[in-house]
Amino acid sequence: MPMPETIAVAMSGGVDSSTVAAMLKTEGYTLVGLTLQLWNQRRLAGKPGMPETTEGRCCSLDDVYDARRVAEHLGIPYYVVNQQDRFEQDVVQPFVQEYLSGRTPVPCTLCNNHLKFAQLLDTARQIGAERIATGHYARNEYDPARYRWVLKRPADTSKDQTYFLFGLTQEQLSRSLFPLGNYKKPDVRALAHEQGLALANKPDSQEICFIPGGDYKQFLDAYLADQGETMPDTSGELVTTTGEVVGHHAGIHNFTVGQRKGLGIASSTPLYVLGINGAERKVVVGGNEDLASKTLRANRLNWIAIPQLDRELRVQVKIRHRHEPAWAILAMAGVDEVTATFDQPQRAVTPGQAAVFYDGDEVVGGGWIL
């Protein structure tokens, strides 16, 4: 009998990854449970604007405890791997820099690209597991006709996480298992119950994992203070599309395209942030009708379903996690840049977010909105 394959399971202490471990165990794989220690929640406790105790979701001791209990329950070895330095360098610092330059970042994608499907895969391989399994809602499979690994939306479209996975390379896809791709969330909870997992009713995590309470502005202040830096002065003017100054703002990091609240100016019609000019520290405001864009540009591309874009392609484009993909024509506009021209103008195209291109259920590729 051949030795069963060893798979490393990325365990967060949540229902999804715990159920993945239980499922694979039932299927007879040899498993090693791994949790990435990414961020020390206590690090910013008591810093300006932060509570004395911070109970965030990310890498909290409770989650590690839960993951450890599951591993124990399943009888699999379990280890916590310290990747705090890499996480800070590859996720937290870019997150802070993006906001300070007037963009709205997607830290989960960076974490997938640099930690979960990079560092964790390396560690898995080093300890004898060629593949890792995660609790992501997505599907991946090899298409022999195209000689490519493809990434597809999951059965439970309400939990679709492919938006955060567009950066995966062919090698990363070939070494990843997404066992939940064909399940609906309620079925996963039912499975967790069936497997006797004590955390089957644990609530889903929603917010950015390293930002307790979800207040990113508070986090920026506290993080910069922790680094011994002060928040750079990015205050400036609020201007209309015609350049008319209508007010002042305290810093560009307080704004996101499409934002209505917190502009601090009175107007007879609702005003929205249309764009942020980081270099001139200007925030452009206007009416809802001005918020729609016919096109977007994106760079730092990654292609999954195709080796490269060599002709115009009709795709559906998703411009933020909770966005209904919109039809567009995709065309190369430089070495590592595309233009997407929408059939219908799209509201609040936001620099810093990812644009992910779909062909039906398949992820064609994606890039970062300029």
């Binding site: 791997v81 391989r125 300890i127």
Partner: protein, 393 residues
């Protein structure tokens, strides 16, 4: 069943069968409270005092100078908190166990002045640094006898002499030396000494603080008059009995040369592993070391992955110090020795005990080089390094 070899004795050791046998009746038929007047109490009291004598014999002190505690951490805290007052100056080192280090850091927030002495590249404190750190208000010096991560033995007799000369109290955390080195509180000249039971084959949750006669310490706990009013709380009877038995066995072992036997195994393992792995070495080898510990570095890999790989192969060792989640952090001891962060992350501690066999050592000599080779094969930094080496040659 996979073979499992334990080489993490500096973390904890299993009970010896004789120790387990000695403590066993004190859970059931001899269960009395040592403070009770009746015969059950008297029986318990007798057992506690017998154990106290046995521990006193190990430390070469009077039985009345032994305070039983819940372990090394409590002993260290009792010494540091109990012997200093706000306004006092405390001198310790940057390589202490967290039980001293974090207690000292907390004391710095509670009105004490605290100096952390540096160490040299071998992880040893320079007594001259201590001399220079003394202040008129220095109340306590706390320097560990041997380091838990490197095994490096500190010049504590010299430190004891400096303390005596300056009229300052001296505490030593001897947790990693009991059963490994002869302990003589007179020779060392310490006023306070911490010992942990489970590092010497007694159960977890047992410990000792030696408190020299006429050394005044404030208790951490208030309650009954147990332990001459130095540590309130009903005695951990079975644990204390076990500790007494373990101390007796340790003393006999030292007389019979048990530590030297462990050193032979340790030295062979260290030598054979390093003979099979290039770009590797051992920390603190130019310092005197406790006989059971070796801390090896293997450049171009992540120690964390090596610890996991070895565990999956059946060899239990440790790397760095564990943080709350169980992930490992670069060792504060190695960084205090100015070891680079990369090398500190690539360092593993192997700690043996009298239960370690020659076969266990053979097993380590076989699996460690294999695991290192596999990790390096997959390490981008090692590949890059290999390429640059071949280019330059």
């Amino acid at each position: 069943m996979m073979r499992r070899v334990y080489m993490d004795a500096n973390a904890t050791t299993p009970l010896l069968p004789e120790v387990f046998e000695a403590m066993h009746p004190y859970f059931t038929e001899r269960f009395g409270n040592a403070s009770s007047v009746h015969s059950f109490g008297q029986q318990a009291r007798g057992a506690v005092e017998q154990a106290r004598m046995s521990v006193a014999a190990l430390l070469h002190c009077r039985p009345a100078e032994i305070v039983f505690t819940s372990g090394g951490t409590e002993s260290d805290n009792l010494a540091l908190f109990g012997a200093t007052r706000p306004g006092d100056h405390l001198i310790t080192t940057s390589i202490e166990h967290h039980a001293v280090l974090h207690a000292a850091e907390h004391l710095a927030h509670c009105g004490r002045e605290v100096t952390f002495l540096p160490v040299n590249a071998e992880g040893v404190v320079d007594p001259d640094d201590l001399r220079r750190a003394l202040r008129p208000n220095t109340r306590l010096i706390s320097v560990m006898m041997a380091n838990n991560e490197t095994g490096a033995i500190q010049p504590i007799e010299e430190i004891g002499a400096i303390a005596a000369e300056a009229g300052v109290q001296f505490h030593t955390d001897a947790v990693q030396t009991a059963a490994k080195l002869p302990l003589d509180v007179e020779k060392i000249g310490c006023h306070l000494m911490s010992i942990s039971g489970h590092k010497m084959h007694a159960p977890q949750g047992t410990g000792v603080l030696f408190v020299r006669k006429d050394t005044k310490i404030e208790p951490l706990f208030y309650g009954g008059t147990h332990e001459r009013q130095r540590r309130a709380g009903t005695e951990n009877l079975a644990g204390i009995v076990a500790l007494g038995k373990a101390a007796e066995i340790a003393r006999k072992g030292i007389e019979e040369g048990a530590p030297q036997q462990i050193a032979i195994l340790r030295d062979r393992m260290e030598h054979e592993i390093l003979a099979r792995v290039c770009e590797a070495g051992a920390h603190s080898t130019r310092a005197p070391r406790v006989p059971n510990t070796t801390n090896l570095w293997f450049d171009h890999l992540e120690g964390e992955a090596l610890v996991i790989s070895l565990d999956l192969k059946g060899l239990a060792v440790s790397g760095g110090s564990a943080c709350a989640s169980g992930a490992s952090e670069p060792s504060h001891v190695l960084t205090a020795m100015h070891v680079s962060i990369a090398r500190a992350r690539a360092s593993l501690r192997f700690s043996l005990s009298k239960l370690t066999t020659a076969e266990d050592v053979d097993f380590a000599i076989e699996v460690v080089p294999q695991a290192v080779a596999k990790l390096r094969e997959l390490s981008p930094s090692y590949r890059k390094h290999q390429e640059s080496m071949s280019l330059s040659s």
